[in-house]
């Protein structure tokens, strides 16, 4: 029966066909006001792969995503995107890397002064000035149609439900056709039906676009549906990383307890 160490070792060098991982987090530490949140975490994600990061609330899952997108900086360790270490990069240089990344915030973080269409068009207006107004409008309509929101273009974020806001947030994250997608609790706060619809949507987008994705979630069912690999965090580090079957075979007490409670 595979132990956590065996699984971790097997997954330790996930190079794909000799190519370096798209996202490489190496020995990252992060504390806030003396409280250690990430304690030497390391993980890798390859192109076309989805990694689900699981764990209890407050174990640093969202902090990990914020470090990868560069909204916070690690205390030590390195985070490489396509081989480039992003720690300490200036804002404008980091911007060039962020253009290849899409981020879905836990509460969607839609701009409340813009309509649904305005929110999705926002990154295009700034980074795709080569597009004409009609091309942009068509692209926005297409993105919203992909997430099932093409009937609500002129609505304001306050007029739509949480699930719909997440869909719009997802469309906005995909606006610049990113190679990397980061999703922070995409199904948090949603009813089971809406959560299932979001999962199916993410799966469909993954199949079509082959992005390197990290999904942070505490929903094991969701993680099983959308991710090929799962990483379970506890006390700021990865306890186990592998497929769902690997987690089920683990002898580690924490892993068993997490699976039992999920």
């Amino acid at each position: 029966m595979a132990t956590a160490y065996d699984i971790a070792t097997k997954q330790a060098a996930p190079e794909q066909d000799g190519l370096a991982p798209v996202i490489a987090v190496e020995n990252v530490h992060k504390s806030f006001d003396g409280h250690k949140v990430l304690n030497g975490i390391s993980l890798h994600v390859n192109q076309g792969e989805t990694l689900a990061v699981l764990g209890r609330s407050g174990t640093g899952k969202s902090v990990l995503l914020r470090l990868i997108i560069g909204l916070d900086t690690p205390d030590s360790g390195s985070i490489c995107i396509h081989g480039q270490d992003i720690a300490g990069l200036a804002l404008d240089r980091m911007g060039e890397i962020r253009k290849k990344m899409g981020f879905l915030f836990q509460q969607a973080a839609l701009y409340d002064s813009l309509t649904v269409a305005g929110n999705v068009a926002f990154p295009l207006e700034h980074h795709r000035r080569d597009m004409s107004k009609s091309e942009r409008a068509d692209h926005v309509r297409q993105l919203l149609a992909e997430v099932g929101m093409d009937g609500d273009l002129e609505k304001m974020p306050s007029d739509i439900s949480g699930g719909m806001q997440k869909r719009v947030g997802l469309a906005r994250a995909l606006a610049l056709e990113p190679e990397i997608l980061l999703l922070d609790e995409p199904t948090a706060g949603l009813d089971p039906i809406s959560a299932g619809e979001i999962d199916e949507l993410i799966l469909k987008l993954q199949r079509e676009r082959q992005m390197a994705s990290i999904v942070v979630t505490h929903d094991l069912h969701s993680a099983k549906t959308i991710a090929g690999r799962l990483a379970l965090l506890n006390e700021g580090d990865v306890v186990i990383e592998g497929t769902f079957e690997d987690l089920q075979q683990s002898e580690t007490a924490f892993v068993k307890e997490f699976l039992k409670q999920s």
Binding site: L71, I97, A109
Partner: protein, 283 residues
């Protein structure tokens, strides 16, 4: 035993109040903490100012957002500053007429009103009114965006929030304050003349000629354009307070309040230096 449970006849003296002295170390720690907080605030403001300055001078420029902010700061503040100017004009007219009549200098009324409005009251009143309206609005708006992660979303979309949010607002304040000051001055002079005319008829032409008699541009232009510095203070403080907010709705409220209070305070303190600067360089 008495009915109150005390032994009858017992001589029980009232408790002696214990005076608790505050340890000297606690006072010292609080004072040090205050000073630290004071210098930390200025340090963070300095870093924020540098980031905004760098963002403002490097492309791509946010022209559309700047125009939107010019409308927000300028056009939407116009009715308020006009009303404030109108009120000031009437108040100064009533007060000045009384004082000048008492000292036999009634004929100096037009010049007194013109110089008082253009050199002192117009700029300061405009600055304080705009600080209240725009400072609170900007501080609250950016604070609300901060606590709902909208600013993080802007940054995650590879857009510089210092350029898009802060630089545009600050520049709009710098450009609009002198124009709003002119509007305040105009309304104040108009209503001041009107209030005077109700008591002692005087044509507007006569009023203006008499008021500006012997005046040079140097007497008024520096005082009007110093309000660009007011705009810088209002925009910078409001954006800084808003973009560093924490703590949900309470944090938003604090940001709005602090934006107004600090902007107004720094504006008045800056005026002390600016007045001296103008007196030295534009005698």
């Amino acid at each position: 035993m008495s009915s109150r449970g005390l032994i009858a006849g017992a001589n029980i003296s009232p408790p002696i109040p214990v005076r608790r002295s505050v340890p000297a170390s606690s006072v010292v720690n609080s004072t040090v903490g205050l000073f630290n907080g004071f210098f930390e605030w200025f340090g963070e403001l300095g870093i924020f100012s540098w980031r905004v300055f760098r963002a403002a001078i490097t492309p791509p420029y946010e022209g559309r957002e700047l125009i939107r902010q010019l409308d927000e700061v300028g056009s939407k503040s116009l009715p308020l500053v006009a009303m404030a100017g109108a009120a000031i004009g009437v108040i100064l007219s009533l007060e000045a007429r009384y004082s000048l009549t008492r000292f036999g200098a009634k004929s100096m009324f037009p010049a007194t009103l013109v110089y008082t409005v253009l050199q002192v009251m117009g700029p300061v009143i405009t600055g304080l009114v705009v600080s209240g309206r725009v400072g609170a609005g900007m501080g609250a708006e950016l604070a609300s965006m901060k606590v709902t992660e909208q600013i993080d979303a802007i940054e995650a979309s590879a857009i510089n929030p210092y350029r898009l949010l802060a630089a545009t607002r600050i520049l709009a304040c710098i450009l609009m304050l002198p124009l709003l000051t002119i509007a305040t001055d105009g309304c104040a002079l108009l209503t001041g003349w009107f209030a005077q005319s109700l008591v002692e008829p005087l044509s507007f032409h006569q009023f203006i000629s008499s008021g500006f008699n012997g005046a040079h541009f140097n007497a008024f232009l520096p005082q009007t354009f110093k309000t660009a510095v007011y705009g810088l203070i209002i925009g910078l403080i409001a954006c800084f307070q808003g973009m560093r907010t924490r703590g949900g709705a309470a944090g938003v409220g604090r940001a709005a309040t602090n934006s107004v209070v600090l902007a107004s305070l720094f504006l008045i303190l800056a005026d002390v230096l600016l007045v001296k600067f103008i007196l030295v360089f534009f005698p």
